[in-house]
Amino acid sequence: MTAIPIARLTPLAWLRAGPLGVIWRSPRATTGAVIILLIAVLALLAPLISSYDPSSGAFTPWIKPGVGHLLGTTALGQDIFTQMLYGARLTLLIGIASGLISTAIGTALGLTAAYYGGRTGEVINTVTNIFLVLPGLPLLIIVSAFLRGGGVWAIILVISLTGWAWGARVLRSQALTLRNRDFIHAAVSTGESPARIIFKEMLPNLAGIIAANFFGTALYAVLSEAALSFIGIGDVSKVTWGTMLYWAQAKNALLQGAWWWVGAPGLGIAVLGMAFAFLNFGVDEISNPRSNHAGKATRVLRRKSVPKVVDAAGLPLMSIQHLDAGYVTPSGPVRAVRDVSLDVAPGEFLGLAGESGCGKSTLAFAATRLLDAPGAVFGGEARLAGQDLLSLTPEELRRTRWKDYSLVFQASMNILNPVIKVREQVYDAMQAHGVHDKTKLEARARELFELVGIRPDYLDAFPHQLSGGMKQRVVIAIALALEPKLVVMDEPTTALDVVVQRQILQEIDQVRRRLGISIIFITHDLSLLVEMSDRIAIMYAGEVVEEAPAQQIYTAPKHPYTQRLMTAFPPLSGARERREGIPGRPPSLAQEIVGCPFYERCAVHLPGTCDVKKPANVEVEPGHRVACFLQSPAVKPAVYQEEHDLASD
């Protein structure tokens, strides 16, 4: 990776990367920006576009829209098109100025409240809440009644004063989460001054939210101005889209059939409001993504394939053959799983280990048809009890998933809906697969809870009443609900405490022995994996480089990578001596890898061999497979070339 020198960015790239970049990354926001720019240009060029005076009533009243007067004339004989052009000036000014002022107030108060917390925070919070609960329009009316005759700036002031609170609230909550981020703690403990922390560290990170807030309040200002002017508070001698509406109403335009007099400013306000709303949503969407993984995990990629079911007798429960999978990105395919073949026997506990980014999760997702776009399966097959999962229709897949196999992820506990009782959520999984009898559901739910070590009374709890460890157990209980043959677990306990982790793993192990289910367990905690697994597969750069019974992987690893990996964590007992990590980093999966993927980091490689040829994955002892030239001279055939071509389409 190389640094991108900021100075060398082209103007267009700067626009995208710069602070306003968010606008160009969201189509909605771009639309909004273009509309507003267009209105602004028309407003600025008003004298060039129209030679009329917006307020002089020099024409015949009530002319219909036509050639001379594009939008007709008013009861006072003014040209409405000209009024629209000039009115846009004040309307935009009011929108933007009020937006700026209230955003500034909201930002300052929100940030201060978040940074200082304590009493300062409480006071600001109370004031904000008071402004939030005060009904907007009546307040506007009362305040502007006092400021009557103050002109446009009085209106701007009034709108800003009533419009800042919502932004302050949003900003405070965002800034509070930011305040608790470690880089802010780090700045504090380095000795940075509060001003610098607020302006240099926090503010830039909130830019998107502040921008969204500005567009939101600008929208509010445009609408408030229209409302105020419409009821005649405001300075009706000035031309704005709002006062146009006021005059149209005062002269009974609609009764006179002069719909255009109401329609033009009305539509103008609506379009401008929409443009601000688009900007607000668009910027908010991008700078404040609420990730929704639970929902995403159901999108799948289906591969067209030939045979569907083969005879399952005598076969492994799960059989992955020459699986190729990865991600399709704008800069080309990332081949995160490269020609992986793996079998899982019935009742077996298979551990899958390897450095972060080596493709463990991609393998698990691809083999179970859970890989999200941009993820894709490029080739190979994955059979569960003889059935090719990769060629199932979505309907067949829905029936198979949970019943034949289920999955548990590290963040699985977040799939629990916080407002629904745990019981309902456990029932749901079973009901979806045809268990409807209430007593059966209840009995099974209790049984499941006991299985994973939670008191059945907790069925009546809401998820937020449970600790992280208990939530994760509930998810495991749901995964076991239909007694699947296979459970895939991707770091299910990594976020949990050691003791809790141990309890859950014991539970899982007992359940598996009792029910005879197979488990694929992914983690990078090797010492744990060695202890738990029957067999372990070690992945490196998308490939399985070694596969053997757990104790053999630990005591007699054959691949140089596994050998380094097994001494790369300190032991709990034995001599306290210095150990070394593995120097270097794995190769990028976005590129073609020539030779053994471990070659560059391997201390014992054979020059002229390891760097030019790929070692084949060979069974060197019964049940022990390795891909290393030190173990076998076999060269891997280039089988997946054609699949790779497929990937780059």
Binding site: M1, A3, P5, R181, D182, F183, H185, A186, A187, V188, S189, T190, G191, E192, E201, P204, N205, E355, S356, G453, S467, L496, D497, V498, V499, Q501, R502, Q503, L505, Q506, D509, Q510, H524, D525, L526, S527, L528, V530, E531, M532, Q551, Y554, R564, L565, A568, F569, P570, P571, L572, S573, R576, E577, R578, R579, E580, G581, I582, R585
Partner: protein
Amino acid sequence: MTSPATDATARSPQATSLPALELGGLTKVFVVGRGGKKVTAVNNVSLHIGRGEVLALVGESGSGKSTIARLIAHLHEPSSGSMKLSGQVVPNNLRGAALTKFRKHVQMIFQDPYGSLNGLNTIGYILSRPLVIHGIARGKDIPAQVNTLLERVGLAPGATWAAKKPHELSGGQRQRVVIARALAARPELILADEPTSALDVSIRLDIMNLLLDLKDQEGLSMLFITHDLAGARYMADRVSVMYTGYIVEIGPSDQVIDAPQHPYTQLLRSAAPKPDEAMRPERVEARGEVPDLSNLPPGCPFEPRCPQARAACREGLPRMYDVGPGHQARCILHDPALAQQPLLHPERAPTV
């Protein structure tokens, strides 16, 4: 160098030299929620860290480990208790210039290398701040100093790395930057709050080795927070074990981890992964949940889960008993008289 952590007895601070840090009865009470519920996150903690010594702090999630580090770093103000840095009293309510000056001496390393660097700034900028704030370098010296720092943590050539932004670095590289930032102010004490738990196994070892090397080169003292007992054993001269805000055991690493004397430490040890043994389901005995910090049992906080509990355990907080040289445990089993009492929960007693 053969021993990862310098041998406790050979390197322990001479009785004459002052410890780098001394905590006396440090307590932190948080008031949470509208009801004014009080949570005692750190309860009457006294400990010391010798010069050039690594003290590990292990314990359950929520036991108050991070809170201790934040109290020492003055990110929180202690509710009570005292603190001495190199023998000098540090007031609990430090403010302004005195606080900035104090911060030069104590630096933190955080757990998440992704969260602890501001993604909008370059590495160079991030590292220049402590240099500027503490007047260590100015003007033209800054880039040179930044480069030296980067090279000291193994990111050479420094100038290349300084120009990058955090998103261009891997987790391990980021954590090196975080360590470089902590070193910039030339502190005496480093508070490392789970500096390796967000990292990959092999990178974890690199970072631990880096911290050990820096400690030896610069004579740093370190509080090393972790929930990995094997890591604590690798890094630390001494280990302290926390449970619900209390220190329940403290002593030399090999003794505390190889022969734990408090039932909670024993539980922790039995829960730790042990690749040398196959999974034995019956091994971990303590069930139940960690007690609510705002409503602790009157006696030993571990009593509700403890397989060894006796009647005496409910009668008040056990004191710290001496169980070996420089080794203490907060458990009545070390009082020969009380240990005679019958078990409260014979059914929980270990089966093996």
